[in-house]
């Protein structure tokens, strides 16, 4: 268990390092620099700015300094937001993404697992077909369509919520609902597939033969194993949900982490782009390790060997 965790964490750190290096390399390739797009400024001002941010140094010196900064959690200043640290920007926008991502995740699980389980327990019935059709529809409704449609219905027609923005206490509802519905469709599909595969296995027959009630069979024996594909999907999905969907934040104009990532990439804010990319990959890596551990605990056949 410990060596398993240690190797996974080391591997994860390597992934984060590679993400930082690639992000840096891509930004270096980009024509222009962080201060090129601004209004014309005298040569000595630009040289001063470059010197202040270390842009006059050779690339490997810059890269080494960035990596050292990330390793010591001494996050640098943003190039674009003058005088503001990357850590400060992430700390400010991540809670916003969290406030949307956590309810979205709960909605996705709360809708998806019952819907998939219902379909799997009553194969080829009306319930199964209905759940399958609803989840297929959900998979095919892109968030960029569903989000505006929900806003049109609940904000413009019914006036229940703000159309966009991040002002009132209930501004999380529509974005979370949009994300939750879409992810619930994937979760329902995975639950249905996983449960149907599990229900025909021998240990389920054994449980039934011992006289276990249907509820015990499903909840105590089957669902545990059937959730493995869902868990696998949840690792990256949770990281994506919590860092904010780029599209949803654009649709509902929410000042979350996704917004900063896009604008950082567009404005060649190297430090902010590297910081958000590293933060995002750290979350993915963290969730993947968590998923692996839970999986090994749920399924004795997997174990901590890989």
């Amino acid at each position: 268990m410990l060596s398993f965790l240690a190797s996974r964490i080391l591997q994860g750190l390597a992934v984060i390092l590679v993400v930082i290096v690639i992000t840096f390399a891509l930004m270096k390739f980009a024509p222009g620099g962080p201060f090129q797009s601004e209004r014309a400024m005298p040569e000595y001002v630009r040289a001063n700015l470059d010197a202040q941010y270390g842009l006059d140094k050779p690339w490997y010196v810059q890269l080494a300094r960035h990596i050292k900064n990330f390793a010591t959690f001494d996050l640098p200043l943003s190039y674009r937001y003058k005088g503001r640290g990357v850590g400060e920007i992430i700390a400010e926008s991540f809670p916003v993404s969290l406030a949307i991502g956590v309810p979205a995740l709960l909605i996705a699980l709360g809708l998806g697992i019952p819907m998939g389980a219902l379909a799997a327990l009553k194969p080829n019935t009306f319930e199964d077909r209905a759940a399958t059709i609803v989840s297929t529809l959900g998979v095919c409704l892109p968030s960029m369509v569903l989000g505006p449609v929900l806003a049109l219905l609940f904000s413009l027609k019914l006036h229940w919520f703000n159309v966009a923005g991040w002002y009132d206490a209930d501004d999380w509802v529509l974005p979370s609902l949009t994300l939750g519905i879409i992810y619930s469709a994937y979760i329902a599909r995975l639950t249905r597939g996983g449960l149907r595969e599990t229900l025909v296995q021998d240990f389920i027959r054994t449980a039934r033969a011992k006289g276990a009630s249907e509820a015990t069979v499903v909840f105590r024996h089957a669902l545990k194993l059937a959730c493995l594909p869902v868990l696998n999907f949840l690792g990256p999905a949770a990281a994506g949900l919590l860092t904010g969907s780029f599209v949803i934040e654009t649709v509902f104009q929410i000042p979350g982490l996704g917004q900063h990532f896009i604008s950082a990439a567009m404005h060649q804010d190297y430090t902010l782009a590297m910081g958000t990319a590293a933060f995002y990959s750290a979350l993915i890596v963290g969730f993947n390790i968590l998923v692996d551990v839970i999986q090994a605990m749920l399924n004795p056949r997997i174990g901590f060997n890989s």
Partner: protein, 287 residues
């Protein structure tokens, strides 16, 4: 008639029969063929061009002259939706093509090489799975400009991982089968084995995963275009149109509804077709 009749048919004929027996998949395929036709012919037959502006017709509702209404610049939405569909479908197919080529080549090499090379190559794929791809695609489109060719190359370059895994798994299991040993024993060259025996046997899974990749790729293109990082105006894809529509949904909801509906129904048809192809080409997966 006496005794059971033995029907023998080639695997491909059987697959086609199973596919046509699947109502949803057939409907999806028909819809897609029809869609390709009208997206290709529609803009040619339409009296309007997709970029033609008519400022007297600002955001008018659907009418006999403009079936899906006009946008804020008086452009005909029907023409723009069909033109945008052409762009979206083309990006979807080309990016999938790129992903298939990279994935099949990578999976083949990994599966054929085996041993340490295989382990190393698959480790790379494992690590790449943990990458924040959306972020890379965004940086790539920013760095290399928002060019059509680069757009599908970039999307294809990040969507090949599953394909590589599938092909590698197939090659590994095929390698150990008797007909490959037989081919080896009569002295077949490696390229003969590759092209005559291995490739034809991986085509089935490749088709299945390619068809399931197309909707994902189209969604990625639409997302990028929606964020302003993909297809650039005045050119349009469904993602661009949906963004324009979302901005003006309050006073002109048809700007959102028509491209959104076309996109969603297309994704639905692609999913039905993909599921149908999986069931038809891989009868074992039928549940």
């Amino acid at each position: 008639m006496s005794g059971p009749q033995i029907i023998s048919e080639s695997p491909w004929r059987g697959a086609l029969r199973r596919l046509l027996g699947n109502a949803l998949a057939t409907a999806g395929a028909l819809f897609l063929i029809l869609l390709c036709l009208i997206c290709w012919l529609g803009p040619k037959l339409s009296p309007y061009s997709q970029s033609e502006q008519n400022l007297e017709l600002r955001a008018t509702a659907p009418s006999a002259a403009h079936w899906m209404g006009t946008d804020a610049l008086g452009r005909d939405i029907a023409t723009r939706v069909l033109h945008g569909g052409r762009v979206s479908l083309l990006v979807g197919l080309l990016a999938t093509g790129v992903a298939v080529i990279i994935g099949v080549a990578y999976g083949m090499v990994s599966g054929l090489a085996g041993g340490r090379t295989d382990a190393a190559l698959m480790r790379i794929v494992d690590i790449l799975y943990a990458f924040p791809f959306m972020t890379f695609v965004i940086i790539l489109t920013v760095v290399f400009g928002r060019d059509f060719k680069l757009l599908f190359a970039t999307i294809g370059a990040v969507e090949w991982l599953t394909m590589a895994r599938v092909v590698r798994g197939q090659v590994l299991s095929l390698k150990r089968q008797e007909f490959i040993t037989a081919a080896r024993s009569y002295g077949a060259r490696w390229w003969h084995i590759l092209f005559r025996h291995l490739l034809p046997n991986v085509i089935g899974p490749v088709i299945i995963y390619a068809s399931l990749t197309v909707p994902g790729v189209m969604l990625l293109e639409a997302t990028l275009s929606f964020l302003g990082l993909g297809i650039q105006p005045p050119d349009a894809s469904w993602g661009v149109l949906i963004r324009d529509g979302a901005e003006q949904m309050e006073n002109a909801p048809w700007l959102l509804i028509f491209p959104g509906a076309f996109f969603s129904v297309t994704l639905l048809a692609l999913n039905f077709l993909g599921d149908g192809l999986r069931d038809a080409l891989d009868p074992k997966s039928l549940r």
